[in-house]
Subunit: 216 residues, 2 copies
Amino acid sequence: MALPRAARTQRRTRIQEAKEEQILEAALEVFSLHGFRGATVDQIAEVAGMSKPNLLYYFRTKEAMHRALITRVLDTWLDPLREFDAEGNPVSEIRSYIRRKLEMARDFPRESRLFANEILQGAPNIEDELKGPLKSLVDEKAEVIRVWAKAGKIAKCDPYHLIFSIWSTTQHYADFDVQVRAVLGQDQAGEGRFEDAARFLEQLFLTGLHVSEQPA
Amino acid sequence: MALPRAARTQRRTRIQEAKEEQILEAALEVFSLHGFRGATVDQIAEVAGMSKPNLLYYFRTKEAMHRALITRVLDTWLDPLREFDAEGNPVSEIRSYIRRKLEMARDFPRESRLFANEILQGAPNIEDELKGPLKSLVDEKAEVIRVWAKAGKIAKCDPYHLIFSIWSTTQHYADFDVQVRAVLGQDQAGEGRFEDAARFLEQLFLTGLHVSEQPA
DNA sequence: TGATAATTTGACCGGTTGGTAAACATTACA
DNA sequence: TGTAATGTTTACCAACCGGTCAAATTATCA
């Protein structure tokens, strides 16, 4: 019969572990580039360096691949927010969060784009996870921010929209990379744009465009 | 022979104008929801309320439809930035720009998502327009901002990244709508979230999280 | 009205896509 | 080593998809 995934033994072989990793890596490459419907199983198989039926031996359907990938990505995607520490200094916590999210946009653009693709398509496969684990985590951290604001440690503001704005500004450099590059031009093409972005965003979130510290 | 588009007369019939409008409306609906490859001509034809061959009589290929749509959307997408006035008051110009972009996200989410989809896929069809008209316009407005900063009317900052951050924060409410709704929950589901967002973004861009005006 | 051009449709086609069947190869292990 | 489970491949299929064709229908106007 040859059942593919951990069926009989419930413990995965080393070869299974390795191949599944290999497949998910390829799937990430292709899905993030073309979206779910735009990606083809043949493409993924080619990138993974194996035949299509062999790939389908490990993941029975294209959708199963996508699901496995999405759940994993969502998890690492949320890591920076989890590190958000209620006991820390508010300003430096927010600053660190921005920096971490920006580093993720720089180092894991494919993951960011995969996620963006999924949300953009209406999140058909992860609506539950958005309304469940994600919402819970955000609620928790929003409460932290609310308390900080109440204590006068940061300005009073809507914590949810604060989180949204950090997400959007940082992920922008991964999801809209083509546009950013096109606008900045060749000269600014290097990785320097991430440092510029970090500098700008830090200023934006901490003092806005308010004229204060900068002397003429 | 029956040439479809303005070929012989070069002047489009009223019926042509109407049908093409009808098709582009349907195409916007479908493309914005599923992306280029995810959308099917049959789907678009069904939404447009006509047969597939009839649709292909007006737009010879799926790509022609997409191109027509993208160029039009890019144009309206840039309108708010065009209104950015060098002679106006810096703070209120930036505030107006944010408000206009946010209104677009609220009133034309499909257009925003269509554009996001295209950029996310690497902008295969509009790279030239990004590097041409779009870059030119942004360069022009960035220069305006730079002068304002130099004159001490707003804080010194990178004008390009300022524009990026306005784009990303506002479009987020269209492109990531599903996520925003999921996180805010049902109670905040109404259109009130756009007012909250406007309030927050105004605060963010003008004074950041800096504690200043808000008394304990 | 008649004729010509514009519009619409059902039937169809070749290529692609997700997935299957079954034979073949390799590994694990008694 | 033998054998059963696991892994891999070739050949294939049915559904779908973008697009064509020729015939039918409708609008235009002399």
